[in-house]
């Protein structure tokens, strides 16, 4: 997703000279492509995320479209007040891009995990929140957020995620996309974890048909389209995020507001594991977010009447 992001951003910047890129001294091997092509629109602000975010707001106030790039929780929690006061309060077109969202920086530990970011961003005014599942969705959300010209948060995975083939036309580009169709169980997922969900659905496909829906735009949520898209009674929400404030909370709040009842099971990153050490796959497995864990939960749900 990192490479898809920078490629897509360069393409947008070729068309729109208001686009700028700011980094908090991260993105080695990624952002140089932009910096080489548009040196007058690239600023490495050093390890100073708070100032970087305010500088982006100042640029946006002056007519530019800055993208702020860093990893995991640094462009969110470290500078939360700058996002709140300077970007969101003033409704400025700053796009915050966080790479390695969720448990993407596995062995680097909890200080480098972004697992409460969606909750923090969801509390703020005027901001759209995106968590694409693959490179193709990354391109879509980038285009959508650029077109909107408002504050946006984009949570990316790391790199090397495959494009998830979606053989359905059931989608709103950049907002909701059906990855697999099915009627026994529906999985609603956001972000790179959706790939595990499609693998779990595939491994159960000889006996069950499982629908997997990716939700790359968590806020605002496409409630009616999503409601009409869901084809089964049993629903599982999967997110690489803590229990509170993320995708599941957004679904609950928005469906309740639309007076649509939706009861679901929920898989998320459990708090007990924050001091555990291991790869992203290992850490996902501790909360049942690996393919085997997802299959296990699906089987339990499918066996219930």
């Amino acid at each position: 997703m990192r490479d898809a992001f920078i490629k897509s951003l360069i393409e947008l910047a070729e068309e729109d000279d208001r686009i700028a890129l700011l980094t908090g001294d991260l993105g080695f091997g990624v952002v140089e492509k932009f910096a080489d092509k548009f040196p007058e629109r690239f600023w490495n602000c050093g390890v100073a995320e708070q100032s970087m975010m305010s500088i982006a707001a100042g640029l946006a106030k002056s007519g530019m479209r800055p993208f702020v790039y860093s990893i995991a929780n640094f462009p969110t929690f470290r500078c939360l007040e700058q996002i709140r006061n300077d970007v969101c309060y003033h409704d400025l077109p700053v796009t915050i891009v966080s790479v390695g969202g969720g448990l993407g920086y596995g062995t680097l530990g909890y200080t480098h995990h972004g697992i409460e970011d969606i909750a923090a961003m969801r509390a703020l005014p005027n901001i759209s929140i995106y968590s694409p599942s693959d490179p193709s969705e990354t391109n879509q959300v980038l285009a959508q957020s650029h077109k909107n010209g408002k504050p946006a948060y984009i949570r990316l995975g790391k790199n090397g995620e495959p494009n998830i083939s979606a053989n359905s036309s059931n989608e709103i580009a950049g907002s909701v996309r059906e990855l697999t169709s099915g009627t026994d169980l529906t999985i609603l997922a956001s972000g790179a974890i959706a790939e595990n969900c499609t693998q779990a659905a595939k491994s159960l496909s000889s006996e069950h048909s499982i629908q997997v829906i990716s939700i790359p735009r968590i806020q605002p949520l496409e409630v009616e389209f999503l409601r009409d898209l869901i084809t089964s009674q049993k629903i599982l929400v999967v997110e690489e995020h803590v229990e509170r404030g993320g995708l599941a909370a957004s679904i609950l709040e928005n469906f309740n507001k639309a007076k649509v009842e939706l009861i679901f099971e929920h898989l998320f990153v459990k708090e007990f594991q924050i001091n555990q050490i291991g790869s992203q796959d290992y850490l996902r497995s501790l909360s049942g977010l690996d393919v085997l864990g997802l299959v296990k939960t699906c089987k339990e749900m499918l066996s219930q009447r």
């Binding site: 007058e40 629109r41 600023w43 602000c45 050093g46 100073a48 708070q50 100032s51 970087m52 975010m53 305010s54 500088i55 982006a56 707001a57 100042g58 640029l59 946006a60 106030k61 002056s62 007519g63 530019m64 800055p66 007040e81 700058q82 006061n85 300077d86 309060y89 003033h90």
Partner: protein
């Protein structure tokens, strides 16, 4: 103009002090001392050296004045209104329910406020962003960020001091209202800032020091900064007196918080009358 008030900016500062006292008294609000200390700086910026477009202030051709010490809202609004940015009648509604002007400067309600501030340490990096956009477009405009000295406790001040030097933002002017009093008292007994001037110099800034109540001296320094434009960011340490202009308020930390009583207002207005 009188013997004591010799320029337009001084007249605006004088009228703004009167407005400000009445506003804070009526609203029973705080931060009077902070407003009185910065009114001369703001009067020079808004009414004289700052070339701010009243119709399109976000235009890159327009200078920007960003009051980072947003708690000096009464003083800021008083100077803006007395400089013609909006009707002075609006000042009478300061801090009232539904008012356009409140206890911290708020954008989008009256002209002249590019950003809402109040949480300290935001103005300098915001100013870098405003200045970078102007520099990139080869505009001749300048960005002025008015900060408090206590605000320099914030880490973002020093992050931004590094960044502005690195990015050679020569069209940025930080003006620090150096009244030496913050929330609990003397800045040097809280978190010492001295040697303040050499700190900024060591960060690569072009540093000036001035009496922050001497309008002509401030105008001369800013005029020199604007020609020729240097690649260094600029900081003016404006030595001021908290509560300036009202003898019993000067250098008293209590006026960071206290609104004047009816009697104190009357006495203060009498003092100002004698100065006109």
């Amino acid at each position: 103009m009188s013997e004591l008030i010799k320029s337009k900016s001084q007249e605006i500062a004088h009228n703004s002090r009167i407005s400000c006292l009445k506003m804070v008294h009526a609203a029973k609000a705080a931060h009077l001392g902070s407003s009185l200390s910065v009114i001369d700086i703001l009067s020079v910026l808004y009414s004289d050296v700052g070339n701010i477009s009243k119709t399109n202030p976000d235009s890159l051709a327009s200078d920007q004045v960003l009051v980072s010490k947003g708690h000096a809202a009464a003083g800021t609004y008083a100077v803006l209104a007395n400089s013609g940015f909006f009707e002075t009648a609006i000042l009478e509604s300061y801090c009232e329910d539904g008012s356009l002007i409140g206890g911290h400067v708020t954008f989008g309600k009256v002209p002249g406020i590019p950003f809402s501030t109040g949480s300290l340490g935001h103005g300098l990096p915001l100013g870098i962003g405003l200045a970078l956009a102007r520099k990139r477009s080869n505009a001749n405009s300048f960005v002025y960020v008015v900060m408090s000295d206590g605000e320099c406790d914030e880490g973002t001040t020093w992050e931004s001091a590094l960044i502005a030097n690195q990015f050679e933002v020569g069209n940025l002017v930080a003006i620090i209202d150096r009244n030496r009093l913050q929330s609990f008292g003397d800045t040097e007994e809280t978190i010492s800032l001295e040697p303040f001037k050499s700190k900024w110099e060591s960060f690569g800034w072009n540093v000036s020091e001035v009496d922050g109540h001497d309008h002509e001296a401030m105008k001369e320094i800013i005029s020199n900064i604007r020609k020729p434009v240097s690649s260094k960011p600029n900081v003016i340490i404006a030595n001021t007196i908290k509560g300036r202009g009202i003898s019993f308020m000067e250098n008293q930390v209590v006026w960071h918080y206290r609104p004047p009583s009816d009697e104190q207002l009357a006495a203060a207005l009498l003092e100002l009358e004698a100065q006109s």
